[in-house]
Amino acid sequence: MRADPLPVLTDATVKSQHEMTVCNSCRYCEAYCPVFQAMEERLTFTSGDVAYLANLCHNCGECLYACQYAPPHEFGIDVPKTFSALRVESYAAAAWPAFAAPAFRSPWTTTAVALAAGALASALAARTLWVGDARVAFPAAADFYSVVPHDVMVTLFGIVGLFAVVALGIGYRRFIRSIADPNIADPPSPLRGFGAASPVGAAARDALTLKHLHATGEDCVDAEEKRRPWRRWMHHCTFYGFLLCFASTSVAAIYHVVFGWVAPYAYTSLPVVLGTVGGLGLLVGPAGLFLVDRRRDPALTHSTQASLDAPFLAMLFLTSLTGLLLLALREKTFMPSLLIGHLAFVLAFFVTLPYGKFVHGIYRAAALVKFRRESNH
């Protein structure tokens, strides 16, 4: 029997350990997804093991409906729901700084506080507050930097962005350590070997295609025998929309820094096209996910996980909406208000990145790499 190096025996951990013990003696779900294949490599389950398995779970739901021991059976096995609760706990346990962990338990409050702070910061950054005469402040339409000077914007977002990256990085490291098997010399760096055939490459493919939301060839379930592609497609819209927006910002930064081309850019320019397409993805995707999740069988997701999803989706949607409105109406006189509003959302979004649903992508990717690495052994 292996010792549990860092026993965090919450209810969700204990329930997960019970469920994996039952599942490991049954194994009927083995072909559904990697969770059960990774489970079979183990005889007992430490708190780190179940945290790993929980983050490997994509909540596709198949195993609940296939389970002969699902509630109201006395074994009460509901792996998707139990793991969804454990995932939230694992996010909180890895949070940096540790005193921020309660943010995962009150996601709406966290979001509201972040929004208020973001609004205050962007208002303070806006030149209107320093220069009394608004007409002097806005000589040209669509000139965002006349509202918030470029250096102020770069400094503000530089600080917030750096903070988010550091917090996510430390959280990631803590998570990796918590799921590492003390008996296997697991390399602490997960980024060893990047080739397409390497575990990292394979895991990247798994993540980018959401392979395990349709691991059995059909899509994940919304309810018993109801397999639909919408959840996967909406997630793709969200994820790739986010990537395009990120690409848009990066290209714009290159334009500015390298070529000295200063915003605003034409509607046909690369940053605007990338941002517009990505922004539309971030409207469609989060709205779709919200609707899909609302119609999904509540037996599949724990309430703590569900309450983490909604504010994150709302933030993505509103950040994108304000951005697209700003783009469309940038010639109008009320552009400064739109800009300040959009910046408030973007700031709040970045600040809450390490304390909300966003981390699932990072931790799941880590679990996928670990799974691919174990499979190679």
């Binding site: 039952v22 003696s25 009927y28 083995e30 072909a31 005889l43 409906y65 002969q68 025998e225």
Partner: protein, 475 residues
């Protein structure tokens, strides 16, 4: 429930055979009602706990390796039943099993290659993706799409049969008695393994200590009603398929996870601390079925499998934790077995172990000499703490008593075959499986005879209708 109406086919039961019958009848156009005794969450009878079905095939498929010929399947059936089989019916099952995977897939069932650790079944058995409950979900969804009327919590308490013809069934639904009328009926309500009174009639008080591995809803009500109505019985009424399972399993519905795979790795003692049978006689998958009866014959129907640290990791993990101790005497205290006797048993056993090369994959040469009974394979000294014990009790899987049928699945009454009464699944499996068992054959019988029963039930109705020009046609 809808207002009283006459169905063309009523199916009594809600497991694999029942749904195969309902789908076979409804795809030909019959109006079908399924009366499932369990609530929706526990629907599907013992099929909920299954995971594969045995099927012949002449070439490798996407889910089955090599080939498994009709003759080989028949040989396996004859071997496990010791000839207690109706060879005509058995051959029908074997031949039709070849088409079963394709047919199942048409109804949305998903299949997969054999599970890891069950590679020995990869050639003979097609596995249901996710197991038997997933299979039943697919069948129920297919039945709903086809307009089959499924009623849950429907307890059949009476059958109205006159001159060999079924007329209606009395059904208690949510405490209210109703008559369900149908032109034909398929009996697919399983055996009586969860009827504790019935078990006690046969095995006496020992039955109090039996665990039922499957559904609590197989009380044999329909079987008994049919036997009382003059159906010819088949199969030994005093036999059941019983395996040794973990004594801590729930009384009902423990299913697969209550099995224990470590018997052949150690010794098994009764409550007095004495060994009583050769634990290493053969591979465990070939022997687990006899251990149910062996444990049932021990005082208080309890036994303990005892292993030492050398065995850990060599068997499928159990759902229940081992009872562990640093010495045999401490272990004896934990399991309430006389410590002196158990220590003496282990000492005698250790002294009798002959040198050999341990190999759990083969019938190795590790055996004891001079013991009664000897352990003939995989005998290793119990000398490495911690020592583990798992308590064992008999776990009943199914009963053999059923109703006799012909090749059209018609139930044999004393005056000849019933006109419109058909049977499928465990309630008639005794025709083919008079005794013994081979993995996955119960599901094959249910799938094949479910289809035959549904088809024949509809054929009788449709030919009646055209003969009498009543004009009652299905959609």
């Amino acid at each position: 429930m809808a207002p009283p109406e006459v169905y063309e086919v009523a199916v009594l039961g809600g497991g694999n055979a029942a749904l195969c019958a309902a789908l076979a009848a409804s795809e030909r156009g019959a109006r079908v009602i399924v009366l499932e005794r369990a609530p929706r969450v526990f629907r599907g009878g013992n099929s909920r706990h299954t995971r594969n079905l045995r099927c012949m095939h002449t070439a490798p498929t996407d889910i089955l390796t090599e080939s498994y010929s009709e003759d080989e399947f028949m040989t396996d059936l004859l071997r496990v039943t010791g000839g207690a089989t109706n060879e005509t019916l058995a051959r029908i099952v074997v031949r039709a099993s070849a088409d079963a995977p394709g047919r199942m897939r048409r109804f949305g069932v998903r299949l997969q290659p054999s599970l890891r650790g069950t590679l020995h079944l990869g050639r003979t058995n097609a596995f249901f993706l996710g197991g038997g409950k997933a299979l039943m979900n697919s069948y129920y969804a297919a039945a709903e799409r086809r307009g089959v009327h499924v009623v849950y919590d429907a307890d059949v308490i009476g059958l109205q049969i006159h001159d060999g013809r079924f007329e209606s069934a009395t059904v208690r639904i949510n405490g209210r008695e109703q008559q369900v009328r149908a032109r034909s009926v398929v009996l697919a309500a399983g055996g009586f393994e969860s009827n504790l009174e019935w078990l006690k009639e046969i095995w006496g008080d020992a039955a109090d200590n039996f665990l039922i591995r499957g559904t609590p809803y197989n009380t044999g009500t329909v079987l008994k009603l049919m036997l009382d109505a003059g159906a010819e019985p088949v199969g030994d009424p005093t036999q059941c398929h019983a395996v040794a399972i973990d004594a801590r399993a729930p009384k009902f519905d423990g299913g697969i996870v209550t099995r224990l795979d470590c018997v052949s790795l150690g010794i098994v003692v009764n409550k007095h601390g004495d060994r009583f049978y050769d634990e290493g006689e053969d591979f465990w998958p070939k022997r687990y079925a006899i251990w149910g009866r062996l444990v049932a014959q021990q005082p208080d129907q309890i036994a303990y499998s005892i292993i030492d640290a050398k065995a850990v990791g060599r068997f499928m993990p159990s759902v229940f934790p081992p009872i562990a101790a640093a010495s045999i005497r401490e272990l004896a205290a934990l399991i309430h077995v006389p410590a002196g006797t158990l220590a003496a048993t282990v000492e005698r056993f250790n002294g009798a172990v002959r040198p050999g090369i341990f190999n759990h994959e083969a019938l190795d040469d590790c055996r004891t000499d001079g013991l009664v009974p000897n352990k003939t394979h995989w005998a290793q000294r119990l000398d490495t703490p911690p020592f583990w014990a798992y308590p064992l009790r008999p776990g009943i899987t199914f009963t053999y008593l059923g109703v006799k049928v012909d090749e059209r699945a018609r139930v044999a009454l004393r005056g000849g075959p019933a006109a419109n009464i058909f049977a499928a699944g465990e309630i008639m499996a005794g025709n083919i499986l008079g005794k013994g068992y081979v993995a996955g054959v119960g599901m094959t019988i249910g799938t094949v005879f479910g289809e035959i029963a549904g088809r024949e039930a509809w054929r009788g109705v449709s030919s009646d209708a055209s003969a009498s020009h009543t004009g009652h046609r299905a959609r």
